[in-house]
Every structure is written in structure tokens, then in C-alpha cells.
């Protein structure tokens, strides 16, 4: 000990290149995320003299982002506990939408239903969609991932891809191969308030107002409850958790249940907000939400929410300015850039996989 403390201190040599690299790693992603809003903000200011158009993009982006945030929570929960990308999660979300839309018809909700009936009906639908998606997710884990827990990493990922395709085809069988319009129950486009040219519609209000309580409930559950504690313990070290008397299998199932519940809620909100459902919506949503989860730092709940909102805004700006046909490419480009420069995301810590 003494010898080492007496040894002359070698000055840490920091050359410029290293310092630049540190800066890029630290702030590069944030700068990258700011590029689009700033560029288009300046363009708006010079064109119209106001930021109304950008503001509208941001509002729409936030409400889209609320949906992605809910889906991203499922990715981040599952990844946090078993380090698996639950590739079928987007499809679980899609099934949530389909269940909701089907249930509207069953209980006779139409655009003409009164407020009281609508609120009660939607609440029932929410519960049903959550239950359906949650149970579906648990089932996927039971059939597809649990038998492969000891197998190489590749194996469960491949079954996940397989399940994703199976569920897409369930969607095709259910509603056919093309997008299906559903009744606009909440009159999603109707304006609630207009602030300096930025209009906020009922859909926007619903998406954000439904998402935020759910996120708080989830975070509270993970932080406070016994099961949440078990989840965190299992995520840290499954072996040690087992030794402490935690039933690891049940805990993992519960994690999938929670993820599925969030996806189901997102499915209902998506159906109400977009008023269109499609068997392929889950694939796209899954990848966007995964990007969101990675952007926030996978395994970090608040990171997933933050990432969801950011991706929502980027997506909306790109839809509005560059063209919807390029949006997936832009989102994926962001995904690749994050992977290269900051795989741990905005709020996450370095993990083994992404280090």
C-alpha cells in the first residue's frame, strides 16, 4: 500500500482527440437530438415569424410519444430483468389495439354515445386491453423464452422474432391485411385550446393524460411494492435473488405481465388517437419504441418515457417536414447513431451488452 502511494504520480495524458471523443460521447447525442428542432425552428422564424408550426409538431409529437413511451416501458422492463429484446412486444401492443377496437363494437360504443357511457365503456375497454395484452405477453414468455433460459442468447431472440410474425398473422386473420378505420369515439381532432397558434386537440390531451398516471403507477409499483423489489433484485442477480427466497420465474412472469399491461393501454390509446388499426402497426411501433428505450437508456424506466417523447417529436417533425415515407429511415438512423456513440443512452449506465 505504502509503496504505491509513494510512487511518483504519472500525469494522465489527455490529448485533444481523447477529449473530443469524451465530449462527443457525453453531449453528442443531445446535440444530435437538437438538430432537427433547432433547424426547423429557425426556418419557421424566418418564414412565418412565429414558432407555431414547430409548436404544433411538438404537441403532436408529445402525444404520439406518450404512446411510444408506454410501449418502450415494456421493452425496458423486460430487458432490465432478463436482458432480452422482446421482439414480439410491438405485436402485443397491436393486439391491444385490436382487442380494444373489437370490444368497442361488442359493447356498442359509437361516436354518438354520451359522455358518461363513453367514459365507463372506455374504462372497461382499457381494463380488457390491458388484461389481454398482459396475459399474451406472459404466455409468450412461458412458451417461447422460459424453456430457452439456459440456451445461448440467440435462441430466445429467434423465438421472439417468430412470435412477432405469428402475432402479425393473427392480426391478418382478425381484421384482414389492410388498415381498418374505427369509429372516432373521442373526436380526436377536435380542438380543446389554442395557444398562440398551437392547437391542442382532444386526442393529445387524452394521450398525455392517460399515460402520465400509468407511468407514475408503474414506477411507484416497481419502487414500493414487494414484487417490485423482487423484480429489482432479480434484475441485479437472479441467482442471489433465488437464494434470498424470491421465486424468479414468477417474478419474470410478473415483469412480462406489467410490460404487456402497458402495451395494452398504449394499444387502446393508439386506436382512439389514430382511429385506424392495422396488423402491421405493431412492427413499426415496436421498432420506434425500442429506439426510444435505447435512447433513454435501456433498463431505465424514466429513460424509456423520456426517449418515447423525444422520438415522438422527431417522428412528427420528420412526418411534417421531410415526408412520412422517410420517417422510419430517420428513426433508424438515430437508432444506429445512438448505438455507435452512446449505447448506454441518455440516462442509462453502461451495461455489459452495450458497453
Amino acid at each position: 500500500m505504502e509503496a504505491s502511494s509513494e510512487a511518483p504520480r504519472v500525469p494522465v495524458r489527455t490529448n485533444t482527440w481523447d477529449r473530443i471523443r469524451t465530449y462527443v460521447g457525453e453531449y453528442g447525442l443531445i446535440a444530435l437530438l437538437l438538430v432537427m428542432p433547432v433547424v426547423y425552428g429557425i426556418q419557421d422564424l424566418s418564414d412565418d415569424g412565429s414558432l407555431a408550426r414547430l409548436g404544433n409538431n411538438v404537441v403532436d409529437g408529445l402525444s404520439n410519444g406518450a404512446i411510444w413511451a408506454l410501449v418502450a416501458l415494456g421493452y425496458t422492463l423486460v430487458y432490465g430483468i432478463i436482458e432480452l429484446i422482446n421482439f414480439a412486444h410491438g405485436e402485443v401492443f397491436m393486439i391491444g389495439s385490436l382487442v380494444s377496437a373489437g370490444f368497442f363494437g361488442t359493447i356498442g360504443l359509437t361516436a354518438a354515445t354520451g359522455t358518461g357511457g363513453l367514459v365507463a365503456g372506455l374504462f372497461l375497454t382499457l381494463l380488457l386491453a390491458m388484461l389481454a395484452s398482459g396475459m399474451l405477453n406472459v404466455m409468450i414468455e412461458r412458451v417461447g423464452y422460459r424453456p430457452l433460459r439456459a440456451a445461448p442468447k440467440l435462441a430466445p431472440l429467434i423465438t421472439a422474432v417468430g412470435f412477432s410474425f405469428i402475432l402479425q398473422n393473427v392480426g391478418v386473420l382478425w381484421i384482414g391485411g389492410s388498415p381498418e378505420g374505427i369509429p372516432d369515439l373521442i373526436k380526436a381532432q377536435k380542438e380543446v385550446v389554442d395557444i398562440a397558434g398551437v392547437s391542442i386537440s382532444r386526442g393529445d390531451v387524452l394521450a398525455v393524460a392517460a399515460t402520465i398516471p400509468l407511468v407514475f403507477l408503474l414506477v411507484g409499483f416497481i419502487n414500493q411494492s414487494r414484487l417490485g423489489k423482487a423484480m429489482r433484485a432479480t434484475a441485479q442477480d437472479p441467482e442471489a435473488a433465488r437464494l434470498m427466497g424470491i421465486n424468479v420465474d414468477t417474478t419474470i412472469s410478473a415483469t412480462f405481465l406489467l410490460g404487456g399491461i402497458m402495451a395494452g393501454a398504449a394499444g387502446l390509446i393508439y386506436a382512439l388517437y389514430q382511429t385506424t388499426i392495422w396488423f402491421f402497426q405493431g412492427f413499426q411501433a415496436g421498432l420506434i419504441a425500442f429506439t426510444a428505450a435505447v435512447m433513454g437508456g435501456i433498463g431505465n424506466l424514466w429513460g424509456a418515457v423520456l426517449g418515447g417523447f423525444i422520438i415522438g417529436i422527431i417522428q412528427q417533425i420528420s412526418d411534417n417536414r421531410i415526408g412520412g415515407e422517410w420517417t422510419p429511415a430517420i428513426v433508424f438512423a438515430y437508432l444506429v447513431l445512438i448505438m455507435v456513440f452512446r449505447p448506454q443512452g441518455l440516462l442509462g449506465e453502461e451495461t455489459r451488452e452495450a458497453g
Binding site: 436482458e83 432480452l84 429484446i85 412458451v143 417461447g144 424453456p147 430457452l148 440456451a151 445461448p152 442468447k153 440467440l154 435462441a155 430466445p156 431472440l157 429467434i158 423465438t159 422474432v161 417468430g162 412470435f163 412477432s164 410474425f165 405469428i166 402479425q168 398473422n169 393473427v170 391478418v172 386473420l173 391485411g177 412492427f283 421498432l287 425500442f290 435505447v294 415526408g323 415515407e325 422517410w326 422510419p328 429511415a329 433508424f332 438512423a333 437508432l335 444506429v336 448505438m339 455507435v340 449505447p343 455489459r352 451488452e353 452495450a354 458497453g355
Partner: protein, 441 residues
């Protein structure tokens, strides 16, 4: 222990246990039934079965192995002569061979090096695009509107656009896709496992988007692709000393595809047994251990991506010319899964298995699902179109294979050991591990 069963496989005797014979009998029935359904010559199906049966029974005898390889080669060469040159069977067989080239390429990335690539369609797209650029009238302004041609005969040489010889385009495509493969590999170098899958998937989707919207991108005044319209027609293959190929005479196409497969097979076998191949396998088994043993990670990974991508590009050029169109709809994510399913079904890392997987899945996709099984749902009173569900069927296949037989139909021995680490050390081919324990006892 009966007399028939349980002769330890290591001793080199013929394998005549009950289980093997049962499997072979089942294979014969299946082969004949399939042959009748896909308009294949029954005699050729029977010959194929005999060759495989001999190989299976005398699996330890090196001479038999060599003889059956030669036999299969001759069989593959004779196969088109036994069928109608414009018929459906040759059409699908050629497609199967082209897909086999791709599956063998993906096998290098996923099977050998263990890097799960979910965006393999990108290389197919780039290869096909290369054929669209250099073997069609796509660049109308080339050569001042007169067209530019190199080593091609009539009528391509007189048309506007760029028309290069098929072999030249093949070389260009290999170059393009190798570079693309390495570029796509670069960002994944720091990543492992699932993250690689997602990054490659993202690249695959980006390339797909560029193909779909390529008519909006202008480089030096020229569009990059034709967007949703697709590029068509593409020149037919025009090889030296041969007549230009015809779209209704499919035998020459089959032989070109077969030549590509043989070339790729040769490269695959040589690579697998080379220093590089061993480095890939070491990487797959344990990256940290491999690195500390002196395997250069960056070079090894990039070479895996590059080689695998090059085969995808080769197949892309061939398919561009064969299908006569380069269309954005061909390059969807589901195609990556289609090729991945071939690799998984056959056995990750197993060259023979991947060949089998490619052939089986091509015929299932283009023959059995649309033609043979399609009436079944309506027969049992269900109303849906099975062709819509083909990828659900492949998804189901992926799940089932991973859970029941993760090592694939024809497992690679080393992979099988990895999967069953600790148990069944020794010859585990065809599940003889129990027999081996019996023999020991």
C-alpha cells in the same frame, strides 16, 4: 440392448439401428409425396433418396461420402434434363438455388461468427440494384442517350442505358456488397448479442426505405432507383460462347444458379476449415476468450460481414436478371426472416443443413403454401387465404425449431455440443448420445 440398436457410432460400422431405418423410410415416403406434388420426376426423387440413405448408413466411411458427393453433383446436373425446360419445377428449383446462395452467406454471419443479422435483405437489395443499374435501360442518359454496353450481345448492346456483362456485374456487386457489409458491421463492433440484431435490422430497413423512395434522391441528376415502380426489364444473362438466355428456357438459368451454389459451397467449406473459420467459431463461442487468445476481433467480424454480404449480392444480381425486375416490395424485413428461417431450419453453422433448409423452405413458400395446402383451410370450413399467412408459418417454424430442435435438421457437431454443453460429449449425431451411454454401460 438389442442387436440392431446401439452400435457405437465411433467404431465406423454401418448405421443400421431401427431409428435410422425408420427415419429413412419416412424420408422416402415424404420425398415421393413431395415429388408428386411439385411436378418433380419421381425417379430423380428416388435417386436422391438412395444417395442420402447410403450416405446416412455408411456415414463413417470416407469413400462412401466422397462417392455420394460426386453422385449428388451428377444428380444435380442431370436434374433439369429430366424436367420440362419451361416448367414450374425448374423455375422453383432455380429459385431455391439462388436462395441457397443467400442462406449460405447468412450462415457465415449468423452460423459461423454468431452475429445475428436481421437485415440481410440489405445485401440482396444492393446486389439486385447493381443489376438494375448496370444491366438495364435505367440510366437513360448514359452515353449521350445512345447507351453504353460492354461485352454484351444483341439486343442489349443497341438499347439505351448501361449494359454490362453479367459476370462483370457480378464482380461489381460483390465489391459493393462487401463494402456495404463491412460498413454495416462497423457500428456493431462494440456491441454484442441482441444489439447487433437491432442495428442490422435498422440498416436493412434504411436500405429498404432508400429503395422505395430512391426516385426522390438525385445524384448527379440521376435517380437512385425507380421507387415503387421498380426497374424492369433487366438484361438476360449473356455468357461468352453461349446464346443469350431466354425467359422461357430455364435450364441455362438453373445451371448458372447451380454454378453459383457450387462456388459458394466451395468457398464455405474452405473458409470453415481455415484459420479464419476457426476464428469465427471461437468468436461465436466466447468473444472474450477468443480475443485473449489473439483473435483480432475487428478484422474477424468485418470479414464475416463482408463475406456473407458478398454472397447476398451475388444472389441479388442473379435474381434481378432471373426475375426480370428490381422491385422495392422484394426487400422487406420478412425476407430477412425467410432467409434466417432457412439457416435455422437446416442448422446454424451446418453447410449441408443450410442447403437443405433453403431448398425445403423455397418449395414450401412457392409451391406448398400457394398450391398444395391452400385448399385445406376451406376444406375444414375455415375461410382464409393461406398465402397471406406464409410468414406466420415461418414464424411458427422458428419458434418450434428453437424449442424442440435448436440445432436444426442436420446439426453441425460443434454447435450441438455448445447447445448441450456438458452432456453427451462425443458423437451426438442423430441423437446417438443415449446409445453411447448404453454402449458404455
Amino acid at each position: 440392448m438389442t442387436a440392431l440398436a446401439a452400435r457405437p457410432a465411433g467404431e465406423g460400422g454401418p448405421r443400421t439401428d431401427v431409428r435410422t431405418l425408420l427415419v429413412l423410410a419416412l424420408a422416402l415416403a415424404l420425398a415421393l409425396w413431395m415429388a408428386s406434388e411439385i411436378e418433380m420426376n419421381m425417379f430423380m426423387a428416388f435417386v436422391a433418396w438412395v444417395l442420402i440413405a447410403v450416405r446416412t448408413i455408411f456415414h463413417e466411411n470416407a469413400w462412401v461420402t466422397r462417392a455420394t458427393v460426386v453422385g449428388l453433383l451428377i444428380w444435380a446436373l442431370v436434374l433439369p434434363l429430366a424436367h420440362d425446360s419451361g416448367g414450374a419445377f425448374i423455375e422453383d428449383a432455380t429459385l431455391a438455388l439462388a436462395y441457397a446462395v443467400m442462406a449460405l452467406g447468412l450462415n457465415i454471419i449468423v452460423g459461423f461468427a454468431g452475429l445475428l443479422d436481421l437485415g440481410y435483405v440489405a445485401f440482396y437489395a444492393l446486389g439486385a440494384l447493381t443489376s438494375g443499374w448496370f444491366m438495364s435501360g435505367f440510366f437513360v442518359n448514359a452515353g449521350g442517350g445512345e447507351g453504353f454496353s460492354l461485352l454484351v450481345g444483341e439486343p442489349a448492346s443497341t438499347l439505351p442505358g448501361v449494359h454490362l456483362n453479367f459476370l462483370l456485374v457480378l464482380i461489381i456487386a460483390v465489391g459493393v456488397t462487401t463494402i456495404a457489409g463491412m460498413l454495416i458491421g462497423l457500428p456493431t463492433l462494440r456491441l454484442r448479442g441482441d444489439y447487433i440484431a437491432i442495428v442490422t435490422l435498422a440498416f436493412g430497413e434504411i436500405v429498404g426505405r432508400i429503395v422505395i423512395n430512391g426516385d426522390q434522391i438525385k445524384i448527379a441528376g440521376e435517380k437512385v432507383t425507380n421507387g415503387r415502380q421498380g426497374i424492369t426489364p433487366i438484361d438476360k444473362i449473356d455468357l461468352p460462347f453461349l446464346e443469350p438466355f431466354q425467359s422461357l428456357e430455364l435450364r441455362p438459368w438453373y445451371f448458372v444458379a447451380l454454378a453459383l451454389v457450387l462456388f459458394v459451397l466451395f468457398v464455405n467449406f474452405r473458409l470453415r476449415d481455415s484459420r479464419l473459420g476457426r476464428a469465427w467459431i471461437a468468436l461465436r463461442e466466447d468473444e472474450v476468450a477468443a480475443a485473449s487468445m489473439g483473435v483480432p476481433l475487428v478484422k474477424t467480424k468485418l470479414l464475416a460481414y463482408g463475406t456473407g454480404a458478398a454472397f447476398g449480392g451475388m444472389s441479388g444480381v442473379f435474381l434481378g436478371s432471373y426475375l426480370n425486375t428490381v422491385n422495392a416490395d422484394q426487400f422487406q424485413f420478412s425476407f430477412s426472416i425467410f432467409v434466417l428461417a432457412m439457416v435455422i431450419l437446416g442448422g446454424l453453422g451446418s453447410i449441408e443443413g443450410v442447403m437443405l433448409g433453403a431448398i425445403v423452405l423455397t418449395f414450401i413458400n412457392f409451391n406448398f403454401i400457394p398450391d398444395v395446402f391452400n385448399d385445406y383451410p376451406s376444406k375444414i370450413g375455415l375461410d382464409f387465404d393461406l398465402t397471406e399467412l406464409s410468414f406466420g408459418i415461418f414464424g411458427f417454424l422458428l419458434v418450434i425449431m428453437m424449442i424442440i430442435r435448436p440445432e436444426g435438421l442436420i446439426p453441425e457437431r460443434r454447435r450441438q455440443l455448445e447447445l448441450k454443453e456438458g452432456i453427451g460429449v462425443g458423437d451426438t449425431e442423430l441423437g446417438t448420445s443415449e446409445t453411447m451411454f448404453e454402449a458404455k454401460a
